[in-house]
Amino acid sequence: MTTTPSGAPSPGPDPSAARQAEAGARAKLLGLARRSIDLVPTSWLVTGAGAALLAVTALFGGLEAAAVDPVPVVAVGETFEGSDLEMTVVGVELRDERGSALVFPDEEKGERVLAVEIDVVNTFSTPRGSATSSKNSAVVDGIRIEGLDDTAAVSRADDGTGSPMLQPDVPVRLLLAWVVGPDDFHDGDEIRLTLPDSTHRVGQSVVRGDYWDDVRIGATVTATVDEVAGR
């Protein structure tokens, strides 16, 4: 293609001659490199590559377990964003009566209601339920209190609508309520809540539409139980 025919007349300082000289030098260098590589046995090369690989692995911590990001801790009144929801725990109350919560304590057994007040905003573009039937919920009923196995009953704090739909960007105050025994919790107790986080996915072939998968604990909140007399 660009080879100049050898032996062509080259008057004066011909650029093609300079190129030829350069190509010759490169060929010489390449030959030298090839000969020196031939001097090294193949097994050495393989061992060397393996050693380099091991060294790099060791540099990144070897077989030691990778550090896991610590679960963030948020305070009462602080907003956590997870599962495309903004969740702000407002307070935890221990009540004798259910109020607008959707649980029904047995008064004769002295049962009481532990209610978590929480502000929630759905930041996704379509309405979403605040509770699911699944044990491992990505939404509001995925909020748990450490030590209680049950999921909470979710209702609106204002009019008591049960498991309300969360409309996009419309803030709502919800109540999460558990029935607890008379001596399970006391005024001033510290409890730990876990807030859910998950990954949004869109169904491809079998599942249709949006769903939230890979549910995990997104944050923990430490709150103080506030005993409310009467109400």
Binding site: S125, P127, R156, T161, P164, M165, Q167, V170
Partner: protein, 186 residues
């Protein structure tokens, strides 16, 4: 040289054709998409098993239902009459949503409204639907969509959907809107 030009031109044409085809192909959902019927306020609109007459659409600062429930906020209130046409099976008005640009809102589940109303064949029921909206969704175009959902999917597939185009900032604004009691249309 000539054959090279020909080959490259042909390649370009085929690539452009393939790109165009990929753009012209309908989405996977197109085979089960709903059939749209555009409605007008005051006029009956028909979509297979659903006949709806939207009588009034307005915005309000607060709503009150017939049972005394009230709530403040930004509300869009829709008065309507609806009946099923062919069968009462699956004739529950489950799809009632308002699409405002990128966001979709469903009719509120609070209070007592027409949301989830059982429709009767040939005898219209009347009531009000209301939508709770955030502050920044009160202007611009919006679409009200009504339909009978298919199975448990929560959406309408291969069936009719009645759509009412709206311009939110042209709607009348009320202080308090009183919702119609669910009942027979008069």
């Amino acid at each position: 040289m000539k054959s090279k030009v020909l080959v490259w031109t042909l390649t370009a044409v085929l690539l452009a054709g393939a790109w165009g085809l990929s753009k012209a192909t309908l989405s996977d959902d197109a085979t089960i998409a709903p059939f749209r019927t555009e409605a007008e306020i005051g006029e009956p609109a028909l979509a297979r098993n659903l006949e709806v007459t939207i009588t009034d659409v307005r915005l309000a600062r607060s709503v009150r239902d017939a049972e005394g429930w009230t709530a403040d906020g930004n509300w869009l209130v829709v008065d309507l009459q609806a009946a099923s046409v062919v069968t009462q099976e699956g004739s529950t008005l489950r799809l009632a949503e308002l699409v405002v640009s990128e966001r979709t809102f469903s009719a509120t589940d609070r209070g007592t409204t027409f949301a989830g109303q059982r429709l009767i064949t040939g005898v219209p029921r009347a009531g009000s639907l209301t939508f709770e909206l955030p502050d920044d969704a009160l202007d611009g175009p919006a679409t009200l969509r009504l339909g009978l959902t298919t199975g448990f999917s929560g959406e309408v597939l291969l069936d009719g959907v009645i759509e009412l185009p709206l311009v939110l900032d042209e709607l009348p604004f009320e202080g308090e809107a009183v919702l119609q009691e669910n009942g027979w249309a008069r």
